[in-house]
């Protein structure tokens, strides 16, 4: 019974966090679903913390190996996830910018040609 009691607290945290997740994420527009998923992906890279703990408690070669692989996986997940999400999000703009100036010039020129005859 005491064991079950000690579980109540983490389970409450888990359930409430799921509800917060539903509440926050259901407001994300479809336009941003890919960055949302890759952003959420980076968040589960938090298992990196778990990797650090198992490295700290390792005593034999097997445990060190497991911890090492977990660290590599977790770090790739965290770093790659945040960088690629940022790369995507910086592309979302309200108005077209820089490259448009070039195409405008080009189309302007072609229009000029068109009106000449």
């Amino acid at each position: 019974m005491t064991e079950l009691t000690s579980l109540l607290y983490p389970i409450s945290v888990f359930v409430l966090a799921i509800l917060v997740g539903f509440e926050v994420i259901s407001k994300v527009p479809a336009t941003l679903h890919t960055p949302l998923m890759s952003g959420a992906n980076s968040i589960h890279g938090i298992v990196l913390v778990g990797g650090m703990f198992i490295a700290a408690s390792a005593h034999d070669p097997l445990a060190y190996t497991i911890a090492f692989v977990a660290m590599v996986f977790g770090a790739a997940n965290v770093v790659g996830g945040y960088v690629v999400t940022d790369r995507m999000l910086q592309m979302f703009r309200k108005k077209p910018v820089a490259p448009k100036a070039g195409t405008e010039g080009a189309t302007g020129a072609s229009r000029g040609q068109g009106s000449r005859p």
Binding site: P10, I25, S42, V47
Partner: protein, 479 residues
């Protein structure tokens, strides 16, 4: 400073990190704030990892452990950074799948390690054992399943559903192995059964093996068109696996983060499945797109009555229209034609044509994929319309330009009795005129002919997406 003095502060730092994750996700509700949201989330991650490092420093772990942590982090981080910087946006679904795989794999490894550590120390409690096994199972299924999904998306493994004789029986057997293994270990923890530590290790190994193979047999029979659902589901799994690792280590930030990701993956799975009007169960059982009935139903209904159109005629229609709606699909992404598409759109806008982009929820190979591709091509996001928003507009559209989209425009979806029945579609056939850029009369993932192509209002411009758009652009310029 002792461990006990530092721990409460580290705990608070973890909590702050988790709060940053929640707020970061909250800022994702608008493209204007999303980038800052992601940065806040990254800051939270740095805080949580940094606090853990401080805790380990105070605890005083040995040099080898630090080497494992630092070198592992540097190698993984460098690999992640290099991939994230160079990956083309069309390959995002594969990359997200790989991140799912490594995240799930890391969670499984954490759980496995905990089990082994307890095995030496004389057995773990019942609840720990249960969470360990759950973490191992979910993490392993995610790991192998995501790798298969990634291979399918990359084209290394056929995108068609792969079903081999006895696959269903194999799946059931694997499930039973995992289930009985779990019971065995849990009963051993309660003391009902006495397992030799070596036997317990073998049982765990059997569970890991069964879960890994299960991940493979789960994803193999799922067709390429269902990939948005599969990726979302595996994303939810990874989150859950991370939460299980959090229960095992009794760490709040892992539990909260895992729950958030689980919720996010769950919502996206539901949205994607709804957009295909299919249940998640139906998708997991698989078989979409390769069935006999699909090929039989096709039977040349559309062939022969298709009208081809030249780039010049198409350009005249587009240039003198009031409202043009562009429907981009995965074919556009494959041909890397998003820039050519934006160029044509801008050209038309300069001529006073109103241009909108109609994005089906499952356009592309993961949720929201097409929006990212068009954003990359510098299309302003207010022009990107979601299905419900744009469908009424088709009635007043003069021309709809379909580029590389197929099944999501098939009016056959409104009738029962075919593979796309009930799938929500873009009402392209409501427009006054339709131009389809397509290489050939080949079929989409559903494996049936698109009735839209046989519509008298439809003109087919047979060309590669990029090539066809370039032809149209130069033809419009020449007008």
């Amino acid at each position: 400073m002792s461990y006990d003095n530092v721990y409460p502060f580290v705990y608070l730092a973890w909590l702050a990190g988790a709060a940053c994750f929640v707020l970061g996700l909250h800022y994702m509700n608008s493209p204007a704030t999303a980038r800052n949201g992601n940065r806040l989330s990254a800051a939270g991650m740095t805080l949580a990892v940094g606090a853990t490092a401080v805790l380990l420093l105070v605890q005083g772990i040995d040099g080898l452990a630090w080497a494992v942590i630092v070198i592992g982090f540097l190698i993984g981080g460098a690999a992640g950074l290099a991939t994230a910087r160079t990956v083309p946006m069309t390959a995002m679904p594969q990359l997200v799948s790989v991140f799912n795989a490594v995240g799930g794999g890391a969670a499984a490894l954490v759980a496995i390690d905990d089990f082994l550590a307890h095995g030496e120390g004389g057995g773990a409690s019942v609840s720990t054992t249960l969470f360990v096994v759950l973490g191992v199972v979910i993490g392993s299924v995610t790991f192998s399943g995501s790798l298969i999904a990634s291979g399918k998306l990359q084209g290394v493994i056929s995108g068609k559903p792969i079903i081999f004789p006895g696959s269903r029986i194999l799946t059931i057997v694997l499930g039973l192995v995992a289930l009985f293994g779990t019971f065995g270990l849990v009963f051993s923890a309660t003391g009902t059964v006495v397992l030799d530590p070596l036997v317990a290790d073998v049982v765990l190994l059997a569970i890991i093996g069964a879960a890994l193979v299960f991940g493979v047999t789960m994803v193999l029979p799922i067709g390429g068109a269902d990939m948005p659902v599969v990726i979302s589901l595996l994303n939810a799994f990874t989150g859950t696996a991370a939460a299980m690792a959090g229960f095992v280590l009794d760490n709040p930030v892992l539990i909260i983060s895992g729950a958030l990701v689980g919720a996010s993956g769950g919502i996206l799975t539901k949205l994607m499945a709804d957009a295909m009007n299919r249940s998640i169960m139906n998708i997991m059982v698989g078989g979409f797109g390769g069935g006999d009935h699909a090929t039989a139903a096709a039977g040349g209904a559309a062939a022969g009555t298709v009208r081809a159109i030249g780039a010049d005629d198409a350009a005249i229609q587009l240039a003198y229209a009031q409202l043009v709606i562009i429907v981009p699909g995965y074919g556009l992404a494959v041909a890397q034609a998003q820039h050519a598409c934006r160029e044509l759109g801008e050209l038309l806008e300069e001529r006073g044509v109103t241009v909108e982009y109609a994005i089906h929820p499952v356009a592309g190979r993961m949720p929201g994929h097409m929006n990212v591709l068009l954003a990359e091509a510098n299309v302003p996001y207010p022009m990107l319309k979601e299905m419900e928003e744009v469908n009424p507009d088709f009635d007043r559209a003069d021309v709809v330009l379909v580029v590389g989209a197929n099944d999501v425009t098939n009016p056959a979806a409104r009738r029962p009795g075919n593979p796309v029945s009930g799938m929500p579609i873009l009402d392209v056939d409501h427009a006054k005129s339709i131009i389809v850029i397509k290489r050939s009369m080949g079929r989409g993932y559903a494996g049936i002919d698109n009735e839209l192509y046989a519509n008298p209002k439809t003109g087919m411009l047979f060309a590669d997406a990029k090539d066809g758009l370039a032809q149209l652009t130069s033809a419009v310029k020449a007008l």
